[in-house]
Amino acid sequence: MSHLKAAASRTLQLALVLWAVVTILFLMFRLMPGNPLAAYIDPTFTVEQQEALMAQFGLDRPLWEQYFIYLGNLLQGELGQSFRYREPVAERILALLPNTLVLTFSSLIIAYAFGILAGAYLAWRRGSAVEQAAIPLVLTTRAMPEFWLGMVLLAIFSFWLGWFPAGGTRSAGAEFDSLFALYTSGEFLTYLALPALTLAIYSQGLPLLLMRSNMLDVMKEDFVTMARIKGLSNWTVVVRHAARNALLPVMTSFAIAVGYQLQGNVVVESVFSWPGLGRELVNAVSASDYPLAQGAFLMIALVVILMNLVADMLYTLLDPRVGHA
């Protein structure tokens, strides 16, 4: 019962957050100075033509009416037309979203797998020379700007060594029957490697440091001491008990990190000409393509909110104490 209630109140919360995001986006693009259609309207248009256009986009109506039309459209998945591409925003975004998700998840999975193992190892080897050398190194990777890291990797592995292509998701002219065929092709991996590596290096610090500090805390817990008094092997103590418990908050941070990463993607997608949502967002904003920018923002917000929900569910799944009490 309390389970259901918790889920319901959580869903309601998310709906409220989503509504707030949607409203802020609406106001942001409506209240910006200048004519929102400036980019769309050809200077040769007559005043009548301009007004006809304003009417077509509903921009001649009062703000509150526009707001409800906008909400109504959103509910039907209608995001409007891109000014630049003259095609539905929803289509454009759905075409780019998979690229962004593949990049985000592959880089984060690498970052978390590495960070969790290395963090646990460093906690276990606390005070050793390895740990003392590793911590400043990790802090350095955290401090490196993404675009700089991306450029360095590009310079070394693409321009100099020529191991990987410099950008995009496929060679010119390559055709694939489906996204699935593209993503599972060996060629795609060579395109994915550098941007994913850049993001992974940039992101591994958080799980690594989090895992390490959690491990250090958990190692002080009575149940870890008890595991030693039981004579269990070092591996059992460190992995099954200490690491398993230290993992809980790290796994939750994964879901949250997906949201952050979507913002981080903006830079990396631009450096590597990765046709994703982040790069599109930047382009749309600089080209004053408001419907597209709005749609991209909305999609990113949606993923962030969903990942928060996933974080919650992960916790319930991994920690038996949650939801039972």
Partner: protein, 339 residues
């Protein structure tokens, strides 16, 4: 007397602190006869847990055994290799902690944690382990159906029973219980102690029961070891040490606790003052600053262990006058005058 099977001699355990070290246990000797319950009692900080953990050789990172022997069935635990020591852990020496809540892993079921020792330490197969889990739960009086529950789903008393079941899993010879009932209310305390005593008799194991509560000793122990500031002040049979305490500290301790049976034994009189710093212990008798009976020699000469009766020792210069001191110690005013 029955055969001694654990014999601690001049045990010294130190903690590294800063540049120096502190001797939390400084020359402790006591015996545990086979099949008996020995109570290790004393104020907070006197070194009880340090002794208990030294026996498992799983100690704080900054702790080390700096002297003495712990003869367990003829082997010196202090001298065993880590490998040989680990072979004894849980199979022969098990541990019941104060807070079963914190000492059970929150993310695994109780069954998982029982299975872990049964299979990894006891070498049992899946089916045997399953049977043993049920047997253990029946032994400590918990429904078998609750094996699949997580630690947080049990009440405090139940968790302590789970901890007992865990300790008994591999039929150990020695169970060390560190304040096993301290966190519980008196009624539950009594139930758990009854259970511990029944199982101990039934299985013929030996128990070291660490407690700061003299009434717990009175309720369940066969022998008492009274510790004060890293030393043993007095030891002997439970009856002798409690009815004829021969060390002024034990006399005071007896006045300071209510009876677990509920019978009010007069006014509770705490011992004024605090134990000395272990980093810089005073010369002579460590109890001297708080002792209402201290004499000149007490402040400079460490008192020897005096055998007041066969098997009953008190580390006090005035142990010979114990009956007279006991009489005086009954009066509240004796303890108030000090401090």
């Amino acid at each position: 007397m029955t055969e001694t099977f654990l014999s601690v001699r001049d045990l010294k355990v130190s903690y590294r602190v800063g540049r120096g070290s502190l001797d939390a246990v400084d020359g402790v000797s006591f015996d545990v006869p086979r099949g008996s319950i020995v109570g290790l009692v004393g104020e907070s900080g006197c070194g009880k847990t340090t002794v208990a953990r030294a026996l498992t050789r799983v100690m704080a990172d900054n702790a080390f055994i700096s002297g003495g022997r712990m003869l367990f069935d003829g082997r010196d635990l202090a001298a065993l290799s880590e490998r040989d020591m680990n072979a004894l852990r849980w199979r022969e020496i098990a541990f019941i902690p104060q807070s079963a809540m914190n000492s059970l892993d929150p993310v695994y079921t109780v069954e998982y944690q029982l299975n872990e020792v049964l299979r990894l330490r006891g070498g049992l197969g899946r089916a045997q382990a399953r049977k043993r889990c049920e047997e253990l739960f029946e032994m400590v009086g918990i429904e078998v159906g609750r094996l699949r529950d997580y630690p947080h789903q049990f009440s405090g008393g139940m968790r302590q029973r789970v901890a007992i079941a865990l300790a008994l899993a591999l039929n150990p010879k020695l169970v060390i219980a560190d304040e096993p009932v301290t966190a519980l209310d008196v009624i539950v305390q009594r139930q758990i102690l009854d259970q511990l005593r029944d199982l101990q008799r039934q299985l013929g194991i030996s128990v070291i029961l660490v407690t700061h509560d003299i009434s717990v000793v009175a309720y369940i122990c066969d022998r008492t070891v009274v510790m004060y500031a890293g030393h043993v002040a007095e030891q002997g049979t439970m009856e002798a040490t409690l009815t004829q305490p021969s060390h002024p500290y034990s006399m005071g301790l007896r006045n300071a606790f209510p009876d677990l049976q509920g019978a009010a034994s007069g006014v509770l009189t705490p011992i004024e003052g605090a134990p000395p710093s272990l980093a810089d212990p005073p010369p002579g008798c460590r109890f001297a600053p708080r002792c209402p009976f201290s004499i000149e020699v007490c402040a400079s000469v460490t008192p020897p262990q005096v055998e007041v009766e066969p098997g009953h020792f008190a580390a006090c210069h005035r142990a010979g006058e114990a009956p007279a001191l006991r009489e005086r110690a009954r009066h509240v005013s004796t303890w108030m005058a000090e401090a």
